[in-house]
Assembly symmetry: C2
Homo-oligomer: 183 residues x 2
DNA sequence: GTCTATATAGAGATAGAC
DNA sequence: GTCTATCTCTATATAGAC
């Protein structure tokens, strides 16, 4: 796409640094100045690349949208499968990259901000996936259970404070959980 | 303790309102003014009851400390039990009150703030519990898995965005998850 | 215990030169 | 594309009267 010659493009560098800071200190605990300092540039320069602070985190989230669309498509194509919940959850798991993990951490660290920014947005494609997985008559308990299955990676991330698991460790445990929860 | 005559004490009223706002809009997304307005008083009045904004959220968390201490004690007393992980997780589950759930939501909504406020504090008693549950030679995977088991309620809460489950629904699903994960 | 008034600092954001 | 300088607003927090 872009004419990437030597290092990374400035915009990508900004996103990279912002992702780390937002995840660690929180969106509102991170000032534009913090990001600029970490990059060795001034606040003003950031506004050349992004119209405002929200725009930075919006860009971070936009990068992941297509993945959920792909999941929805996959689920539609396999709607008749037996054991669809487990299969879909494992399919989602198999697509988990380090980038997605970072985005998950970002979202977990900034729930109120993400909620604010996504309310009024397009309807969550994840909801469509659950409709397909569960059918129209699922109990509340089954709805909750299915969501936990699908959020296995999130659950491991949430629980992993204090343990320094590698990406492989996290995915392996998430996979084990998915299997144990879907007999 | 306090001479509670008519309504709740003002301090408790403040904590109640602050808990809701911090959970919904986030700690830094909620101003002292927001809290004061919701209570029909002025910002200054809040500073009579709490030395600063951090103090409010610190009080909120302090209220839960004894519960973890109790869990640690229970685990020490049952250290020789077979199936200790499941038993301890279910014991923890059985002590889950609406107040604890709210505290969990607060913590999940404000991870960076909580981290900042608890770093350098006393060592997490939860860590001691996991030491007892796992022993010294547990693999990273087993450590992660045990933490997920214990965080079943958190996992359900995290996954339950978009589903309006009652307290009973949430606890029932969490219990089911604990059982399924601990054969 | 609650108020009015105010101090102070830091945030996000813009203008305009280079 | 990055800078300096600056604007403006809002936040936390305090002083002191009642």
């Amino acid at each position: 796409m872009a004419d990437k010659t030597a290092g990374a493009t400035t915009r990508d560098e900004i996103l990279k640094v912002a992702l780390d800071l937002f995840t660690d200190k929180g969106f509102e605990g991170t000032s534009i100045r913090d990001i600029a300092d970490a990059l060795g540039m001034t606040k003003s320069s950031l506004y050349y690349h992004f119209v405002n602070k929200d725009d930075i985190v919006a860009s971070l989230m936009k990068d992941r949208e297509s993945e959920v669309d792909e999941l929805l498509e996959w689920t539609e194509q396999h709607a008749e499968l037996n054991g669809l919940l487990r299969a879909a959850a494992l399919h989602w798991l198999d697509g988990t990259t380090p980038e997605r993990i970072k985005a998950m951490r970002l979202a977990q660290s900034n729930q109120p901000v993400i909620r604010r920014m996504t309310e009024g947005a397009r309807s969550d494609p994840f909801e469509r996936v659950f409709d397909l997985l569960l059918g129209p008559n699922a109990s509340i308990a089954d709805q909750l259970h299915a969501r936990v299955v699908f959020n296995a990676v999130n659950a491991v991330l949430l629980a992993s404070r204090g343990v320094d698991g590698s990406l492989e460790d996290i995915l392996a445990v998430a996979r084990r959980i998915v299997v144990e929860l879907t007999p």
